[in-house]
């Protein structure tokens, strides 16, 4: 039997004005288990807390009920008070007789009666409380960053800066991501490579950072502080440790017709390649789909020219298993496919390109060495039409596009238009827009400069149709402000394609049990207050995997994610919330119902041997809750058909005792 102390707070006149606190204290004294009852003006004050501590000692209290304001206000206060008096803090229950009683009822008798009932419910619950101790788990002081774009790079650098080890897993042969493909960045127009490649070098040189390039995460087990991750290092047929990145092989390889994905297939590379000059790691990779040696054993040129002896045609995929305390997802984005947008003739004409392709066309390291030339005939385009919102902001029933605004297109289109006019003043540039969205530092100024200083024609309206006619493109569009339909002859059409999360994100989310929205963007733990954390503890979000973002935003979020990771890794042990689910293994059916509703993946199953009353043994599948991962929602307790699953601190018996006390 508990020895319960009841402490009724006046809260000045806030409670005492409508509730007869003396009567409440008297009435509750008669409840089962109650051995002490008192009232005081301000229970939360130092004097009030001392009164509680003293009573705990004098009356050997095992449980405390405070009738006061909302537990959301002072539950933590009174738990600390209890702990200071040597009582388990979870032996405290609050009866909310202010917000949910004295403040909402006007008449003293009614308020008093309800306060007594609320007090009784709290007493009934405390009678069934048991001391709870938060679980502890150790923290592996190493972080994993999945994705080596600017988001992953920045997160890794920031974590490493704090002195923790970081591994980057990047599926491409080099880190750098989309930013490495860009030419200039808005709104400052500094060159992307100039600001990105030094960071890539920093990553390569940082002793705390390991790069697993050309690698993928294939399995994630464990939980916050203790993830076990399996990484597949794909065979690149080149020994990374030997390759000097001299590039001799990439010049001599006879297989020249390999589409160059780094340049969005607008030119070709060799079957052995280094994606670009500043690649990190600067190591060659053989494309097994094109290499003659790998396909039919004939050739071997690269092996012959490699003075370092780095070529290894027999290399196999390698699996690495590593432990991590935290995982950062930085899987980034891709432009959506333009295949379904027949009206823009993307598949019919080489001169209809996406903005990312335009980036490569204007990049000094791109297929045209930075000269803006039409992909079809290499001529200089005299009239360029940019189309915004291609596939963005579509209706939910529209299968071609995405419902959301891709956020970055307005600005990069303004950038492209401006840069074109700057370099080629003779080129006429028209942008078709629905809205120009420029909320960002110096963004609107930038857009206005494109219009006012560089003479870019912005037309409010959408392009309805692009049709190749001869070597020109006929663009049919509407000018909504002039209420006209326009037919423009253009040399080049640039589509601001919507962006979508990388395809690797969905299977990764499943592995991580991290939740995603319907667009496959990772969901944050709270949209406003916890924007860089996934609801799954220990998993953090960096960059466009969480939603469309430009570079400054990505870098800011990457830093924020890093600071969260550092905060986690700085701890030696994690203390959990003790109000977690637990399964009674004698009653558990192993049916998986609980596992299916758990949003955190906190429940796993194991086969356990049971000794039966008849001295035989039985092996049964039972659920095991990982208290470090469980957040205590209690969803599993209701999904469980046998009632084996219960929630500490909110046990079924406790809640039913409250129901009984209220209904008595």
């Amino acid at each position: 039997m508990q020895r319960i102390g009841v402490f009724v707070c006046w809260c000045g006149s806030n409670i005492a004005g409508t509730v007869d606190v003396v009567a409440v204290a008297e009435a509750l004294k008669k409840e089962p288990g109650v051995v002490f009852s008192a009232n005081y003006q301000y229970m939360c004050s130092q004097a009030g807390q001392d009164l509680i501590k003293q009573a705990v000692k004098e009356h050997n209290l095992t449980g405390i009920v405070v009738c006061s304001c909302s537990p959301r206000m002072h539950e933590a206060t009174f738990r600390k008070t209890a702990a200071a008096a040597g009582l388990n803090p979870y032996m405290v229950e609050i009866a909310n007789i202010r917000e949910q009683c004295s403040w909402v009822h006007k008449e003293m008798p009614i308020g008093t009666e309800k306060a007594i009932i609320l007090g009784k419910a709290a007493i009934a619950k405390v009678n069934l409380n048991v001391p709870l101790t938060p679980g502890e788990s150790p923290v592996t002081k190493r972080a994993l960053v999945i994705g080596g774009g600017i988001a992953g790079i920045q997160t890794a650098l920031d974590i490493a800066d704090a002195g923790f080890e970081v591994d980057i897993v990047e599926k491409k042969p080099t880190i750098g991501g989309k930013m490495a493909q860009l030419d200039k960045t808005f709104p400052t127009l500094d060159c992307a490579a100039c600001i990105l490649t030094p960071k890539m070098v920093d990553v390569a040189q940082n002793e705390k950072i390991r790069i697993f390039s050309y690698s993928e995460v294939t399995e994630v087990k464990g939980f916050v502080g203790n993830f076990d991750v399996k990484i597949k290092k794909k065979a690149r047929y080149v020994k990374e440790e030997l390759c000097t990145g001299c590039g001799a092989c990439t010049e001599k390889c006879p297989m020249k017709k390999v589409p160059n994905d780094f340049n969005l297939n607008m030119d070709t590379k060799r079957a052995i390649y280094i994606p670009f000059a500043q690649a990190v790691p600067k190591v060659a990779t053989i494309d097994p789909d094109y290499c003659n040696m790998l396909k039919n054993g004939k050739c071997g040129v690269c092996s012959k020219v490699c003075t370092a002896g780095a070529i290894d045609y027999t290399q196999k995929d390698e699996f690495i298993e590593e432990k991590y305390g935290a995982i950062v997802v930085a899987t980034g984005f891709n432009p959506i496919s333009m295949d379904k947008f027949d009206e823009f003739a993307y598949n019919q004409s080489k001169d209809v390109i996406t903005s990312l392709e335009f980036e490569r066309l204007t990049n000094a390291a791109g297929p045209t060495a930075g000269k803006l030339l039409r992909p079809s005939d290499g001529k200089h385009p005299e009239k360029i039409v940019f189309v915004q919102c291609v596939g963005s902001r579509c209706d939910a029933c529209n299968e071609k596009g995405k419902e959301y605004c891709s956020k970055i297109c307005c600005m990069y289109t303004a950038k492209h238009a401006m840069l074109t006019r700057d370099k080629y003043p003779d080129t006429d540039v028209t942008v078709f827009y629905i809205d120009v969205r420029t909320p960002g530092k110096n963004f609107d100024e930038f857009y206005r400069r494109a219009v006012e200083e560089y003479g870019v024609h912005y037309i409010k309206g959408m392009v309805g149709k692009v049709s190749p006619e001869g070597d020109k493109l006929m663009v049919q569009a509407s000018d909504l402000l002039d209420n006209k339909q326009l037919k423009i002859e253009a040399d080049l059409v640039v589509l601001a394609a919507a962006i979508e999360p990388d395809k690797s994100a969905r299977p990764l989310a499943t592995m991580l049990t991290a939740s995603m929205d319907t667009n496959d963007f990772f969901t944050e733990a709270h949209p406003k207050l916890r924007p860089v954390e996934s609801p799954t503890a220990g998993v953090f979000l960096s960059g466009a995997c969480q939603g469309p973002k430009d570079i400054p935003e990505t870098v800011a979020q990457a830093g924020a994610a890093a600071s969260k990771v550092i905060g986690l890794l700085a701890k030696d042990k994690l203390t959990g919330n003790p109000c977690v689910a637990h399964s009674n293994e004698l009653m558990c059916n192993g049916c998986s119902s609980c596992e299916r509703v758990c949003p955190y993946g906190a429940i796993t199953y194991e086969d356990k041997e049971f000794r039966m009353p008849d001295r035989t043994t039985q092996i049964r599948r039972i659920a095991v809750v990982n208290p470090a991962v469980c957040q205590g929602c209690g969803c599993c307790t209701v999904a469980c058909p046998s009632g084996a699953m219960d929630l500490k601190g909110f046990a079924s018996e406790q809640i039913m005792a409250e129901v009984d006390a209220i209904c008595k």
């Binding site: 596939g391 902001r393 579509c394 209706d395 071609k400 309206g461 959408m462 209420n483 339909q485």
Partner: protein
Amino acid sequence: MSNSKKYLREEIIRISGVNPKKCMRCGKCSATCPAYDEMEYHPHQFVYMVENGNIEPLLESESLYRCLTCFACVERCPRSVEPAKLVEAVRLAAVRKQGNNRMTANDVPELIDDETPQQLIVSAFRKYTK
């Protein structure tokens, strides 16, 4: 908006099954319309005017019969607003309103001349065989 306007607006929306509020005013319907130059009110205006209950001018306008019902706007609208269905609904409203101009399918052939676009003939049959 007056009650009669509201009523007409509701009627058009009901007949067409179109929600003009979904329109984000991108103008792609008008950009894509092959009969644009023939029309006094263009597809995007149809949507906007219906939304605002400004339907009287549409009922009076030749534009109604210039629409080819080719459904290019329906196909390309990113917001699934389906302007051609609105035009069709306003047409129906015009027909119903006058009450006495209801034709039967048999009346159609004699109205056809060399100038009549094929799609108009098809939609005329579609409508008057209902």
